[in-house]
């Protein structure tokens, strides 16, 4: 199911979550927050049997190379 969520993720505009971690389950954003641990804990609480797709939304122009 996560691959379907990944394909859905590719098509969406998450700019309203800029700078936040989000969790996706069944093509829906089910949790968001500044810390991945908190986001994953929220998913576990509300959907204990689901494995979310976690992603960090980043909406700044970037140079990432080391």
């Amino acid at each position: 199911m996560t691959y379907a969520d990944y394909e859905w993720f590719l098509e969406q505009d998450f700019s309203r979550y800029s700078g936040r971690w989000i969790a996706i389950v069944n093509k829906q954003v089910v949790a968001e927050g500044n810390e991945p641990a908190g986001v994953l804990a929220a998913v576990k609480r509300i959907m204990p049997k689901k494995k979310p797709l976690l992603t960090k939304v980043r909406n700044r122009l970037a140079i990432l190379s080391s």
Binding site: Y3, Y6, L10, G19, P36, L53, T55, I63, S65, S66
Partner: protein, 138 residues
Amino acid sequence: MVLTYRFKKEKLDDGSYVSRPRILVDLQGIEVTALIDSGCDVTVIPENLAKEIGLNLNGKRDKLYAFREATEVICTNANIKFLGRAERQNVLINIPVLITPADDVDTEGIVLGIRGVFDNFEINFKKARNQIIMKEIK
């Protein structure tokens, strides 16, 4: 094994768009998107995520130089499974990673760098076709 991903079109804060090569991986049990960066020497993981997945935070300390600034990092290893559309396509590798202390609104999530990743895959970025093709090197 050959894995195919797509670029993600992302809207920036200034209203413009960029397309970034974000792929799907399983990082020690957590399914997460990761950015492929052919200009980054080593894979980078933010500390708050590294703690969540149980990476060793007691490794050697080093510095990561990015553009004009240096960041203190921790050197360790992680199991990363590259996820395909079907489970039989998945490829698991263990690679060196750097853990960065900061994770704020301006930092990236997981950045997949050259060491380990580009040693295990021949990677073709086909922007015009919206494809990222990763062929496992045996």
